[in-house]
Amino acid sequence: MSSIELRDLTVRAGSTTLISEISLDVEAGTWCTVIGPNGAGKTTLVETVAGLRRSAKGSVTILGELVSSMNERERALKIALVPQHPVVPPGMRVLDYVALGRTAYHGLLRAPSATDRKAVDSVVARLSLGEYAHRDVVTLSGGERQRMVLARALAQGTMVMVLDEPISGLDLRHQMTMLELLQKEVKECGLTVLATLHDLTLAGQFADRLVLLDHGQLILDGPSSEVVRSEELAACYGMKLRVIDVDGADVVIPVRR
């Protein structure tokens, strides 16, 4: 069964078409990564799936329900978002930031319930944020912050998560840690992930499936090992790419012409 279904999705900004007639299915409990050069429409796609942008044509369905027919609260109970540039409000404690993920459950006039607190504590423990729990969010390093943002999304308790460049600005170790944490959630909790990544090697190593976008159009959709070796991928980036096997993992290397 598909957790995310896109049908002929077209998104425009004024007269400019950002993505055009994209159809895509992401199976439950799988990880699909959207790749493509800058301006391909990756962020637009993620924001539209998360309900933050309106489509000009076509539809987005999450767990069988049209995104356009849901209000913010209903959407937050079905899909969580990790944005590319999360706002980190100074003065807020890490624990309070993660607890924002429970907003859709307790509403605005009631305090978080015992269930909400338990959910937050569980995520904080799973992502090893316990030692930072009472620190101001602005005191965290880039890697710790990104884990905190992931924790907030996981605290939403949804079965679907969309992530826009979740590892941008992180060093290699933190990139790997972040993606491994996410993969653990996919495997152990059956989370469905739709992410965008620039790093083709990491995209290929972690996703079950890659979707290549260029100029707002879906160019290729298939298993990671096939997409990273495709001619279309090199053509989209306008450069020569080599793929080498390192201990069973595909490594994509750009080659200077």
């Binding site: 924001e47 907003t103 605005l108």
Partner: protein, 336 residues
């Protein structure tokens, strides 16, 4: 947090006592308190009828109106800062002050004739304030679809327009009218009465309650509009309710006491320095501290140059700015 709440409550109690006790005619704290307690069946009052009149018909309504004005302006400033995610936001951001100023000027200079009775000034000030905010909301893309920065820019434009119209009217009026408009613009509690208290009380009670209840929503909104929406917050609806409540309450207060500046911007900042950035803590404590702050300021305003009075807006700035700087420097020392 508990300590700050306790201190602000003590400050509020002290402000109430100051508001009743301090004045050009010395009556004595214990006798005034004895009279207050006699109203709840404890002991007997020793005040003369004249003294009773001074306490209950002059000082008490003035003090209560000060409490209402201080709490409303402070909480409105706090909610505006939260909803616009802008530390410089104050309750007059969307044109309330300019609209009220124009309305009051129309009443005072009496352009249409027949509006010079004092009762028209608050009415037209209130109407002007609400018209200004409504026009700002409509021009700013009905606020629902536009960004907060569009709304702020629309507020700046409308405020300029209304202020220009007010300046033109003032220029056309008599020196006496200009003086009265000027006095109104500087804000004062001198004309307070129980009827003015009862007039603004329902607005303030409802609007303060809505603003305080919005604290949790404003905390969520601190991560920006898109993220708040992805967390389940109906941002545009919350923004409309909060802005409507803040503007309505501010308009009601401004119509009764004129333009009192500084309270709406400085009180939430002082409280933020003391209790942190959560609006769930800032807003309720701002209500208490704002009320106490304005009554203290009014006590200074009416006693320093007695029998004449200092403009209240001048006192709030002169008292508020050093307090703010002091807390800011103390907090920096603690952090470093």
């Amino acid at each position: 947090m508990v300590l700050v709440a306790a201190v602000t409550l003590i400050a509020l109690a002290a402000a109430v006592v100051c508001g009743l006790v301090i004045g050009p005619i010395s009556i004595g704290t214990t006798r005034i308190l004895g009279d207050v307690f006699s109203h709840i069946g404890l002991g007997r009052s020793t005040l003369t009828p004249t003294q009773t009149l001074i306490i209950w018909q002059v000082r008490a309504p003035r003090m209560v109106l000060g409490l209402l004005a201080g709490s409303m302006l402070a909480v409105a400033g706090g909610t505006y800062q939260g909803v616009f995610r802008n530390p410089l936001a104050d309750p007059y951001l969307l044109g309330v002050a300019a609209g009220a100023g124009l309305g009051a000027t129309v009443a005072i200079v009496d352009i249409g004739g027949g509006l010079t009775t004092p009762s028209w000034t608050p009415l037209l000030a209130f109407g002007g304030a609400m018209v200004a905010v409504a026009v700002t909301w409509i021009i700013g893309g009905r606020g629902l679809r536009s960004s907060t920065s569009t709304l702020i820019l629309a507020g700046v434009a409308i405020a300029s327009l209304f202020t220009s119209a007010q300046t033109f009217l003032q220029q056309q009026s008599s020196p006496d009218s200009i003086a009265r408009v000027y006095i109104w613009l500087l804000g004062s509690l001198a004309s307070a009465s129980w009827s003015s208290v009862l007039l603004v009380l329902p607005y303030v009670a409802i609007c303060v309650a809505i603003c305080v209840a919005a604290g949790r929503a404003l905390d969520v909104m601190s991560v920006g509009e898109d993220e708040s929406r992805s967390l389940g917050l109906r941002v545009r609806r919350v923004r409309f309710i909060v802005i409507a409540a803040s503007s309505l309450g501010t308009a009601a207060i401004v119509s009764a006491v004129g333009l009192i500046g500084f309270v709406g911007i400085i009180v939430p900042h002082i409280i933020r320095l003391l209790v942190g950035t959560s609006y769930r803590r800032i807003l309720p404590i701002s209500v208490i501290f704002g009320a106490a702050f304005l009554v203290f300021a009014d006590t200074i305003a009416r006693t320093v140059l007695a029998p004449s009075e200092l403009p209240l807006g001048v006192v709030t700035a002169v008292v508020g700015a050093p307090v703010f700087v002091l807390i800011l420097s103390l907090r920096r020392q603690v952090v470093t």
